[in-house]
């Protein structure tokens, strides 16, 4: 699991790649998001285009990040869901929760 943080204006885009599974992957997202919030960065996009595997703990971590950011007065968007992540979110009704985008420009303009 690797996360690269790009900054566009006041938005932080986290380019995630690899596996988001119980343990290392979920902790990486959790720590990165909390660090951004701690430094007052409240507009966050999780770019999941290069995530090749996610389990239920990874889905749970996306939910947890969303609620943490929202409860801190910020906004979190999901960008470039893979087909499998889309399916996992759809069948658990989480597509009704997350703001989801499939192009970066639109995601950036949504804040």
């Amino acid at each position: 699991m690797k996360i690269e943080n790009r900054v566009v204006g006041d938005v932080h885009i986290l380019d995630c790649s690899g596996k988001i599974t119980l343990g290392e992957g979920t902790m990486a997202i959790r720590n990165t998001v909390r660090e951004l919030l701690k430094n007052g960065n409240k507009k966050i996009i999780l770019n999941l285009a290069d995530v090749n595997y996610i389990d239920s703990s990874g889905i749970g971590e996306l939910v947890s990040s969303y609620t943490t950011v929202t409860n801190s007065g910020g906004s979190l968007r999901l960008l470039n869901l893979t087909k499998k992540i889309h399916e996992l979110l759809a069948i658990t009704k989480l597509l009704t929760v997350f703001p989801v985008y499939d192009d970066e420009h639109t995601a950036l303009s949504s804040f």
Binding site: L22, D55, S56, I59, I91, T92, K93, V97
Partner: protein, 150 residues
């Protein structure tokens, strides 16, 4: 690991480090059986979720307790059993992750996913202790399994 014709049995300790090993074995079996990529992915995820539950919630990460995983490779189905040495649970007592009050909970979706992606799933509490999850996936009609190897 013991391979006896069409049964492959693995016994692991209760450590999450074994998850990738079990996943790799599952991927090899589904590839051998000719499952399409999507089915293979969801079978692999279902096994991973079951073993994670067995280690984390069943055996509560107690390294002295084991998880037994058995793959039964048949011509037209793959049957998988994951058994822990925990206290078990009643499936009907698990919260529904689709209920509005549970939607934003960070956990509780693993079994829902298993039931969504496998053709049959059973949860069997054993009277002598331990919980067994049995799940089955039918092999696609045009599977590439070599009959001589089954």
């Amino acid at each position: 690991m013991n391979i006896d014709r069409n049964r492959i049995e693995v016994r692991i300790g209760s450590a999450l480090e074994y998850l990738d090993l079990v996943q790799a074995l599952t991927d090899s079996i589904t590839d051998f059986m000719g499952f399409d990529d999507d089915s293979a992915h969801w079978i692999g995820m279902s096994v991973r979720e079951s073993v994670t539950n067995a280690i984390q919630h069943g055996n509560k990460l107690d390294q002295s307790k084991r998880v037994d995983i058995c793959f039964e490779v048949a011509r037209d189905y793959l049957d998988i059993s994951v058994k822990d040495q925990g206290n078990g649970f009643r499936i009907e007592n698990l919260p529904n992750p689709l209920d509005p009050e549970n939607l934003l909970k960070p956990s509780g979706r693993g079994i829902f996913y298993i039931r969504s992606f496998m053709d049959e799933v059973e949860f069997i509490p054993h009277t002598q202790g331990g919980m067994e999850v049995r799940m089955m996936k039918k092999v696609p009609f045009n599977s590439a399994v070599k009959e001589t190897e089954i």
